[in-house]
């Protein structure tokens, strides 16, 4: 029982990452009609925003310590981050410690900008092109983006820890009156909360602002909205920026969960497409629902009891679920007719 609860909790957490990535992808994929293979790369760029902020905050002055030697027998270089010399060691190290949450402030404008530029500079010209061309150009872009990151940051994962206040785990067992342990890491709980917040914010934005309403109308019927004299293109560019920012924020907060590396976007690419399609093309709630559902099912499939009966099921569960759902519900969970079916 506790094992199942724990996996459901874990599934919600994993699912929140899937949902967040899928949400951004659906904004682009299901609404602008662009197959964006570079979406995973945007997620990766977000994570590297966190890395960058951490590195910037850790920029250091170097002093030589003659009493200690480095591996070549030279005096050891002692690095003192600027922030520590400016704000004092305690405040300074606290700032560095909180680099990941601080990176959110950095990532939002950066990712909005990247998304906007990407749309204006490249994607815009591909709305009318076949999906095949969109795949080729965005896949090319994804490779270029990740190679650029590799060039500057190397191929090795870069540890990007969460603030030390969030180290460790919270035990739900006493709360639920269970006598075993039901411990779950604080940062993952934060991630879950953060994701739901962002998902809520995106929905609220689309639901309650005039801008959002126009965009939703444009999603449903682009031509008509265009005829009303509304500059829907510009709004779509901004939506692209927002989608990029959502992916980026998902990446920033993900950095402490797994050390970012340059190909993490590709690792999520296939999965995020599966999530979006299982959710149904063009449906934002569908993407979120599918994200959580696949997260939970994936977690449950890795239960030892399940694996004992069906060895290896955890490796293929996502695909089995995708096949079953697409065969029983032709347009995924909540898909709209006619989106990407041609």
């Amino acid at each position: 029982m506790d094992a199942i609860l724990l996996q459901i909790l874990n599934g919600l957490d994993k699912g929140s990452a899937y949902a967040l990535i899928a949400l951004g992808l659906t904004l682009i994929f299901g609404t602008l009609g662009v197959v964006n293979f570079a979406h995973g790369a945007l997620f990766m760029l977000g994570a590297f925003c966190a890395v960058t902020v951490q590195k910037l905050l850790s920029l250091s002055t170097i002093t030589l310590d003659e009493t200690q030697k480095d591996f070549l027998g030279r005096p050891l270089e002692i690095k003192t981050p600027y922030v520590e010399s400016w704000f004092g060691p305690e405040t300074g190290s606290l700032i560095i410690d909180w680099s990941v949450p601080l990176a959110i402030l950095f990532a939002i404008p950066v990712m909005l900008f990247i998304g906007y530029v990407m749309e204006r500079g490249l994607i815009k010209h591909f709305y009318k092109r076949p999906h095949a061309d969109q795949i080729l150009v965005t896949f090319g872009l994804a490779i270029v983006l990740q190679e650029i990151i590799k060039y500057f940051y190397g191929a090795n994962p870069i540890p990007t820890p969460a603030p030390s206040a969030f180290v460790g785990s919270f035990d739900f067992a006493p709360l639920l009156g269970l006598d075993t342990s039901l411990a779950y890491p604080y940062w993952r709980l934060v991630y879950f909360g953060f994701s739901t917040l962002i998902i809520g914010a995106v929905f609220a934005f689309l639901q309650f602002t005039t801008f959002g309403m126009v965009v939703r109308a444009g999603m449903a019927d682009r031509e008509t909205v265009g005829l009303l004299g509304i500059d829907i293109d510009k709004r779509f560019s901004i939506m692209f920026g927002i989608a990029a920012a959502v992916a980026g924020l998902a990446g920033v907060m993900y950095a402490p969960i797994n050390s970012p590396n340059y190909h993490m976007g590709m690792d999520f690419l296939v999965l995020s497409f599966v999530v979006v399609v299982v959710g149904g093309m063009g449906s934002l709630p569908g993407a979120v629902l599918a994200g959580f559902m696949l997260g939970i099912l994936e977690s449950l499939a890795s239960l030892n009891e399940v694996k004992a009966v069906l060895p290896g099921i955890d490796q293929i569960i996502i695909y089995v679920v995708a096949i079953v759902i697409l065969l029983t519900r032709p347009r995924g969970l909540m898909g709209r007719k006619g989106v990407m079916e041609e």
């Binding site: 197959v35 999906h131 095949a132 061309d133 150009v137 090319g140 490779i143 296939v270 497409f273 096949i323």
Partner: protein
């Protein structure tokens, strides 16, 4: 000729000549020269060019004609390889039984996967095929079925290979590597030294090249057949097809199976050249690669996929090998400062940066040549042939059939 039109015959003959003289064409630079780095005329790469050419031609029969974008075609490639290696393990190193088995087994799998996946269209179809292929990849990579049965089916991540303890019931003493009916070993290579140049004539390459020509010829026949026309009709307007009394499902399924058989054959040939079958051949990246090859070359054209396959394999195998030493040797004639500067400039794009170059080229091609490399060829062709514009290129028809606006 051969029951195909004049233009198609011309194209086929050009391809045949190119294939025959590939060892010369691909090795234009003297062996010892700095430019020899760009030579691609060694057996392994030449084999890959034609094998992936076959794979892409087959994929194009599905995607280029019907518009159904399969994202799981690598599954059939892997199956083909496993089939051939299993024949090595059970019978002997003769490649022919394995190739037959590869085509048959991949056809069976394609029939099953296609039957289910073709119930959906568009992106839903793509994800279904992707899901099947990824499942098969996971199963092969960890040999889940083999483990379940307590035996070895795919030998997991190490890849399926021949061990001396295998049954090999038809084996003869002299057999140690794949061969064709005992006539010639696939790795036999004759090297012709001509002055500073050197050219490799490899038996395996020519075997693959002959099969490529046959498969290319068959693809032409299919393109020009009523069946091929029906497939293009599927892509154009399924509604009209239905109301014209045509059942689209068997057409798409037949295309899927044929294209799966091409993939299985290509996979089988990979294992015929090199007796190993690895699971990563089935991974989504491999499926994605053939999609890229086809689009890059020009989807829906006859020769495009072959060009795309050659393009990608060339970069993977040639650019990845250019290291800083090679760069320094190229720019050695420049003054020292300039040499280092040039090496620094070029460095990110070659060697370990070959992916970057490939990514950039994908973008450039798709931005400037919407019809893929074939369109590039046409544009060049047009420059040279302004005078008889009406003659048009052999590929013009096919290129025009690209959907001008899929939206």
């Amino acid at each position: 000729m051969f029951g195909i039109g004049k233009r198609d015959s011309t194209l086929l003959i050009i391809v045949a000549i190119m294939a025959l003289f590939a060892p010369f064409i691909l090795n234009p630079f003297p062996t010892g020269s700095a430019m020899a780095q760009f030579n691609a005329g060694y057996p392994d790469l030449m084999q890959r060019f034609v094998i992936f050419g076959i794979f892409a031609i087959g994929f194009n029969l599905l995607f280029g004609l019907t518009g159904y974008l399969s994202f799981g075609h690598a599954a059939f490639l892997g199956i083909g390889s496993y089939a051939v290696v299993w024949m090595y393990k059970l019978l002997d190193y003769n490649v022919i039984p394995g190739l037959f088995l590869a085509v048959i087994v991949s056809a069976i799998f394609a029939l099953a996967i296609g039957f289910i996946s073709l119930r959906r269209s568009g992106i839903y179809f793509s994800i279904l095929t992707l899901a099947f292929a990824q499942m098969m990849f996971a199963i092969s990579y960890s040999d889940l079925i083999g483990r379940f049965l307590g035996t070895t089916i795919t030998n997991g991540e190490t890849g399926l290979q021949v061990y001396t303890s295998d049954p090999q019931i038809l084996i003869d003493d002299w057999e140690s590597v794949p061969h064709l009916l005992g006539i010639v070993e696939m790795r036999s290579t004759y090297t012709l030294d001509a002055g500073a140049w050197s050219f490799d004539f490899n038996a395996g390459y020519y075997f693959c090249a002959v099969i490529l020509l046959i498969m290319f010829y068959l693809a032409i026949r299919i393109f020009r057949s009523p069946f091929g026309m029906m497939l293009r009709a599927v892509k154009s307007n399924q509604q009209r097809m239905n109301y014209t009394g045509l059942n689209t499902r068997p057409y798409t399924l037949a295309a899927f199976v044929i294209s799966g058989m091409y993939a299985g054959l290509a996979g089988g040939l990979l294992a015929s050249m090199d007796p190993l079958a690895g699971a990563e051949r089935m991974q989504w990246t491999a499926s994605g690669e053939v999609v890229l090859m086809t689009i890059l070359g020009g989807a829906g054209t006859l020769i495009g996929p072959v060009l795309g396959a050659g393009f990608i394999k060339y970069f993977e195998n040639i650019f990845a090998k250019i290291n800083d030493n090679v760069l320094h040797s190229w720019f050695a004639i420049l003054p020292d400062g300039m040499e280092d500067f040039m090496v620094t400039i070029v460095h990110p794009f070659v060697g370990k940066g070959w992916n970057l170059t490939l990514g950039l080229l994908f973008m450039l091609v798709v931005i400037f040549l919407p019809g893929g490399l074939v369109e590039g060829g046409q544009r060049i062709g047009r420059v040279f042939r302004r005078r008889d514009r009406n003659a048009g290129s052999v590929e013009a028809d096919a290129a025009k059939q690209r959907n001008p606006a899929a939206e």
